[in-house]
Symmetry: none
Subunit: 202 residues, 2 copies
DNA sequence: AAAAATACTATATATTTATACAGTATAAAA
DNA sequence: TTTTATACTGTATAAATATATAGTATTTTT
């Protein structure tokens, strides 16, 4: 399957979010509003691109006629829990899966691909504690300030992300931890997904 | 909950079928076509009846704006979410139930009876934020230091609980809030349940 | 170097759709 | 007995919506 562009991913997210939140797909105008487009044709052409890539189907002549293909079982999905243990390990590879839990997919605003078990105290000031399970939506698309799972050259970390040109700032929520600065011209870094929720067990 | 009439059930089935088959809810006209009605108002009035009975919700001014409320999914128990709104109100009475969510019962250490939607910032220093859903196990048995839902004479509150003889201490996790001291000889207070976990949606 | 895909703005319009209003008729509840 | 809910037909229309067309600009592929 062809990869989606950043904009196409945004549109797809927007559709998923609408279905989860309202129960029905968005109109062209609603997509435009959410993503800041000024012409309905911006949404239209992205939808046609997604249709061409076989990600969605569009029912001609009917309003909100968008449906996402190969939709995963809508209820009670089994979602893996991944431990953030050693360097470079937050993948869905089976050896990293601690266990699976069943949650309502409509619980969070977007599709949850996995839960990341938090290690360390770097986000403690924003209420993210050790052993909390952070719900991750896999995407490489993010906004500044998003809570992101970032794979750097020698680590995988959960931090607030800010990007400005070639500079990446990974900001913890703990004054005892230093922000991580990455110059993308010298080092590589990849956004694996963004945090959309949290589960804590006492 | 009131029972549905035969026709209302047919309409509800029609909506479910449409969502399953096409991915989006039907229009009035489509309902009429499927069920053999000749007037769009036939569908409309059935929809309004279903809305009145709290089975569906209808988004005004938007096409196909029908969504089925608290649709249960196959796995995972359906657990109510209760808003901590006004004084003395955290009960399982249906008028306090904001919605229901499906979670794996084995997710938390004990049985979850309901989720309490947090209002206010009194527990913020321990990572419990406004609008977080705290998983509550109904019990009046507790240990000192437990996070408890306590019904006092004029309020329902979520605090750490400590009991010593006839004195009850309800301790917030926010230095801007004062601990609540209750002398059980003068005032009544009841433990509704204890917090065993948390769900946060970003 | 040319073609195709991406990523939009801007405008227009036919069609879809929700929704109101006016009726008719029957059954159930107050 | 009167009201309320159910169960429709039939007509009308404002608003919502899909969708076409005409552009501009950049990037990617061939």
């Amino acid at each position: 399957m062809k990869d989606l562009t950043a904009q196409q991913s945004k549109v797809l997210n927007c559709i998923e979010e609408s279905i989860n939140k309202t129960g029905f797909p968005p109109t062209r105008a609603e997509i435009c509003q959410k993503l800041g487009f000024k012409s309905p044709n911006a949404a239209e052409s992205h939808l046609r691109a997604l249709e061409k890539k076989n990600i969605i189907s569009i029912a001609g002549g009917s309003s909100r006629g968008i449906s996402i293909k190969n939709k995963k079982s809508s209820s009670g999905a089994s979602i893996p829990v991944i431990g953030l243990v050693a360097a470079g390990s937050a993948t869905l590879a089976s050896e990293n899966i601690e266990r699976e839990i069943n949650v309502d997919p409509s619980l969070f605003s977007r599709n949850v691909d996995y839960f990341l078990k938090v290690k360390g105290l770097s986000m403690i000031e924003d209420g993210i504690y050790e052993d909390d399970l952070v719900a991750i939506h896999k995407t490489n698309d993010f906004k500044n300030g998003d809570l992101a799972v970032v794979r750097t050259e020698d680590d995988v970390t959960l931090k607030y992300i800010f990007k400005e040109n070639h500079k990446l700032l990974l900001k913890p929520a703990n004054k005892d931890f230093d922000p991580i600065h990455i110059d993308l011209r010298n080092e590589s870094a990849e956004v694996e997904g963004i945090g959309i929720g949290l589960i804590r067990k006492n």
